[in-house]
Each structure stands twice: as structure tokens, then as C-alpha cells.
Symmetry: C2
Subunit: 366 residues, 2 copies
């Protein structure tokens, strides 16, 4: 078994537990910081260790182009390359490639590199192969990701091709001893297509299941019914991963529907712009009101940044664009979000997720 | 006494010892990393602690404009602002202001802020006052810094005005209980003017003496005689600080002439461009030859970066412009340079500075 989910406690549809792999284990629900090009932006491996992150992402699109999957494999794989001994998941790169206006055929996707304009192809089999070279603990199938809103016919075609590609990926996957492969459910905001996509993906028997093509700009009212319909079709004994989700309300709503894993660039992207996550909601550190504030970002936060730096100091660094500001704000946001996941796991264990959910809505709807 | 130099060993003109202050002590010869705008660029306070840096710089020009010296004073001074408990020295900002083509009169310098174009004035008394507000352990007088090469008459005028301003700064300095004030020797590459400037500065009885206006692009053959002449006039019982020096040969030559302190942005600036300091000389991490190198930057280096990251990984991060590359390369360069200072102090203690000097020339003249 490459991967096993042990559910320790449930609260409604939400569950908390442990995913065991060949590498070790991580707790769920889990937020996975995104290290797109071989590092979480503006921070370093030792920071991720200090933060207690259990699993981070890498991106196949970026890494296959630079420095190249073969090169990373020759150096011992992505874990060795980054000197990261925690868990790692790679995305297939489908999401990035489909944003480049590629030529899509049944065979795969032909696209131009954003690095040098060179032409490349990504196929279901090729994405499996390069992700095997990268060697993350979990890899993702190549799926067809449509922008929303989209015509129903476009979504239906994406579901169809995603299913065909998933079958090819399933057949191509050889590194099964130490690497799990997750299928991806598509279907846009169409509940019946989500159900169909989920059933067809589950029929292929993956190690875990992701919900893709949501949290791409649609409202939460559009997102949640599609998510709920998809999750209801997924086996409860396997991990469920909502791709690209990072806002606190979105996370807790997904968890309440039974999602176990999520990732997003949000905490680091916001951090680079001086926007901070706190127990009282978002805080823009560049605001004049913080010029003389000796308070930390968040009084409740145990992170290195909150333990030693004032809002006034961070505001200054951000306002003069010192790179250190991006690092410190990213570190805090990651720490805050990982702490939020702790609270979610604890609440599920105690059966108090409803309270945390209400509190989260209260704070983050302001 | 605000500041006391205890010389523990000498080797020729070189000396190693301890500078004691109201805050504690630091060892010399010392290299001081530059935290121009309130942080050493791309790294953070905890990094400087881990590196074992004993004293860092701040810059009065930048800090008086943003966030402002009064604001920093209200927040407890620069140490509290940065949460840095080691030693700190602030430069007067003269070097920066003179590079802005300012209006110079006997009263002071009128210049336009590089942040917003607003007009500001820096006077000898004003520079003392703002540096008292910043509250570093050591502050520097406002001097007149000429670009080199320059007409002898220009240099002579700079020496004259520097002396007059030094006297005014000396008289204006009130925070004498916990803050030292250093005078600055000017005189360009003119040996007799260096001697004159040194004598006039020493006559004003400062807590330490700096050599300014060198290492500004002139050759080492031009620089060293001027430095030697100036240092010979300075009291051996007080610290001597060569401003803006950071290359290994320059450092060891200055130390061999009796210099105790130096600073430079070199290690961090080079680091941001992927140029690394090693026991074998400079290394450009972006070169293709390092694409698959599992070696650390420098096999002899005990720093965090060399202990865990390969040249291949750093090359990749630098080539895709991940901010983490700037941080890791800056950290290594700082660690290497601080380690080089360790070796210098050790060599002086053992009486083997000549060997280290020969080795340094051998490696860094390649």
C-alpha cells in the first residue's frame, strides 16, 4: 500500500486523521504550502521545517522546464534537490499549461514555455513519467481544466477527456512502490457533471482523489454545491484533495464537506504584498496606522515573526521594499494558516467544528 | 569611557583584540555587515544571530528619511526596532548624500530624497542629532567625501571642511554615556593630505577614527599608501575603521596596516547576483557547469547553506530568480566573510598573518 488514510475522529462530514505513506505520515486536514519552482517563495527549507509543515507542493510544469525532471532525478529526486525530508506532492502542470492557450488534442497538450518560448508537449503518460522522475510522494494525473464560467458543453468535453486521460495515466504509472497517484474530478459548477466525473474517476481506482477546476474565481455559492456533489461520490476511506484553496472560509467549508488536503499560493503571495492573515482577519501592514505600532502582527501567534518583530518594523521594511519584508510576511502567513489547520483538526476531534466554522465566518466575512 | 580597545595580540602592524562598550564587547578585526534600511538585505535578524555577527551597520541617510529618526527613537531606537541585541554602528549618510549631487555650503548639505524628491538638509550637528535618535553604539561624523580621481584642490577643500564639520559634530554630541562618536579622515589619494586630515581629526579627540573616501574605485596601489599614511597618524589605543571595504585582499591588506573594523555591502550584493565567496575564490553559481553539481558552495564552509544545499539547487533557484536564491547566497557570503575574519584574528594571534596574506593574494588574484 502506497498510501493509507486512518480516520481518527469525525464531526459531521469532516474528518481528521493520518495519511501513512512509504515516507512516514502526515495529519489531515492538511494545508500544503506551494513550492512551485523548488522552494516556497521567499523562504527556505529550514523555514518550512521550523514551521512544522508536513507536506509541500512542487509543480511539474515549472520543474520539467527548469531545471528539468531528468536532472532532478539524476540528483536523487525533488526531496534530495530541496533537502526536504517531509512529504511532497507534485501537480501535473495541467493547470499552468491550460492557462497558456495551448493546442489541445486527444493525445495531449502542446504549449510554449514561459521561460524561453520553446515548444513542449504534455501528455497523460508524459506527466506521469516526469512526476515519477521528480519522485514526490504523491503525483497528480494530467486533467483538463476549464476556466469558469464556461458553456456546459465545454465542461462536459473536459470531463470526458479528463476521464480518458486519467485512464491512460493510471496505466502509465509504474513507480507504485513509493509514489501514490491521485485522480482529479472535473465538472465545473455543474453538479451532475461533477457526479459523473467523480464516478468515472473512482472507477479507475486511484490512491486518492482531487477536486480540480474550482476555486478559480467563482463565488462560494457556486463552488460549494459542486464540491459537495463530488465529495459525496468519493470513497471515505481515501484522501480527498481540493486543489488551489487557501482562504480561511473556503478551507473550513471544504473541510466541513469532508476534504482532507488543500494547497494554495495565497499565504506567500499575500505576504509578498504585505497582506497578513490574523485571528482578527486580514491586515495590510503598509497602512499608516501601523507606523508606530509596537504590537506584533497577531498577539496570539507563536511564530518567529510575531515573537520578535513589531508591526512598525514590518511596515517600514514593506514600504521600502526590502526583500526581508516578503520573507517575514510569508513566514507569518504560513505559520498562521498552519496554526489554523491545527485548530481545525482539534475542533474535529472535540466535535466543535461548527463553533470554529461560525467564528471563521464571523472574522473573515468582515 | 564609552568605548575601549584592548589589544590582545599584534603581528607587525596588525592587531587583534576586543572593543568594549556600554553594550558589551566585540572582537577585532571585525567585518560589519551592512543593514542600510533597517535590515541586512534579504536576510533577517535571527539570521545575523545565527551567523554570529557581532556588529552591523545602519544608514542615517536612509533611516532619517524612512521611517524617520524620531519614529525610531519613539520605538526605543534602532536596536529595539530591529530586535538586534548585538552592536550597531550608523553612518552619517554623508557618502549617500554626496552621491546625489547636493548643494553643499559651509553650513551643510541640501539634497533631494531618493524616495520622494522632497528637500532635506544634513548638517554636522543634524547628523549627530539624528544618529543620537537612532541610538547605535557608534555614530559617525558628517564628512565631505570626494569621488576619486579628483583635483588636489578639491581634496584639500574636502579635508578642510571635513575638519571644520568634525569639530562642530564633536561639540554637538550629547549622548556620550552610551554612544561613541568616530571622526573620519579624508584626503583622497594624497598622502600629505591624509596625514594632515588624520592629525586634525585626532586633535579633536574622538572615540575612534575612520578612513573615508577610499575603496571608491581607485586601484589598490593608489589606495594602500594613502591608508598607510593615515593609519600611522592614528592613536594605536583606539579603533580604526576603514569605511566601505569588503574584498578579501583589501581587508587583509588593511588589517596588515593596523585597521580594526570594516564594512561593505559586497557580500550581500554579490549574493543577490549569484556570485559566491569561497576558499577557492569567486564562484558564479549561475554557470552551466554547476547544473548537476551535488557539491556545496564551499566544502570547508560550516554555514547552513553549505551544510544542506547543492550548487545545482542554488544554480536553479538563481536562474529562475527565486528570492530564496538571494537569501541563501547572501547568507553564505556573510558566513564566509565572517569566517575569513576569524581566520585573520587567529593568524594575528599566532603571528602567521603573512602566510594568510600570501594565501589570500594567491586565491583572490586569480
Amino acid at each position: 500500500m502506497k498510501l493509507k488514510l486512518d480516520i481518527v475522529a469525525t464531526d459531521g462530514l469532516a474528518r481528521t486523521g493520518t495519511v501513512s505513506t512509504a515516507r512516514g505520515s502526515f495529519t489531515t486536514p492538511v494545508f500544503m504550502p506551494v513550492g512551485t519552482r523548488g522552494t516556497v517563495r521567499a523562504v527556505r527549507t529550514s523555514d518550512m521545517e521550523r514551521l512544522g509543515a508536513e507536506i509541500i507542493l512542487g509543480n511539474n510544469y515549472h520543474l520539467m522546464l527548469k531545471p528539468g525532471a531528468e536532472l532532478i532525478a539524476d540528483l536523487g529526486g525533488l526531496h534530495a534537490f530541496e533537502d526536504w525530508s517531509g512529504h511532497m506532492l507534485t501537480d501535473s502542470g495541467g493547470y499552468q499549461v491550460f492557462s497558456l492557450n495551448p493546442k489541445v488534442s486527444e493525445a495531449g497538450v502542446r504549449f510554449q514555455s514561459t521561460y524561453d518560448g520553446s515548444y513542449h508537449e504534455l501528455t497523460p503518460e508524459g506527466a506521469v513519467r516526469t512526476q515519477e522522475l521528480l519522485g514526490a510522494d504523491i503525483q497528480m494525473v494530467l486533467d483538463v481544466c476549464s476556466a469558469l464560467p464556461a458553456e456546459r458543453s465545454v465542461i462536459a468535453a473536459a470531463v470526458e477527456r479528463t476521464a480518458a486521460w486519467a485512464e491512460r495515466a493510471r496505466g502509465a504509472h509504474q513507480r507504485t512502490a513509493d509514489q501514490a497517484l491521485f485522480g482529479i474530478v472535473q465538472g465545473g459548477a455543474e453538479v451532475d457533471l461533477r457526479i459523473e466525473s467523480a464516478r468515472r474517476t473512482v472507477a479507475l481506482d486511484f490512491d486518492g482523489y482531487a477536486i480540480g477546476g474550482l476555486s478559480v474565481g467563482e463565488s462560494r455559492a457556486v463552488m460549494l454545491p459542486a464540491l459537495e456533489a463530488a465529495v459525496a461520490e468519493l470513497p471515505s476511506s481515501q484522501p480527498r484533495y481540493f486543489m488551489g484553496l487557501g482562504d480561511p472560509i473556503g478551507i473550513i467549508e471544504a473541510v466541513a464537506l469532508g476534504v482532507d488536503m488543500m494547497d494554495c499560493v495565497l499565504p506567500t503571495r499575500l505576504g509578498r504584498h504585505g497582506t497578513l492573515l490574523t485571528d482578527s482577519g486580514r491586515l495590510n501592514i503598509k497602512r499608516a496606522e501601523f507606523a508606530r505600532s509596537t504590537e506584533p502582527i497577531d498577539n496570539n501567534c507563536p511564530c518567529e515573526v510575531c515573537q520578535r518583530h513589531s508591526r512598525a518594523y514590518l511596515r517600514h521594511l514593506a514600504n521600502v521594499s526590502e526583500p526581508t519584508a516578503a520573507t517575514l510576511c510569508s513566514l507569518h502567513n504560513l505559520a498562521w494558516l498552519l496554526g489554523f489547520m491545527d485548530r481545525i483538526r482539534h475542533a474535529i476531534s472535540k466535535g466543535t467544528l461548527a463553533d470554529l466554522r461560525a467564528e471563521t465566518h464571523e472574522v473573515w466575512s468582515r
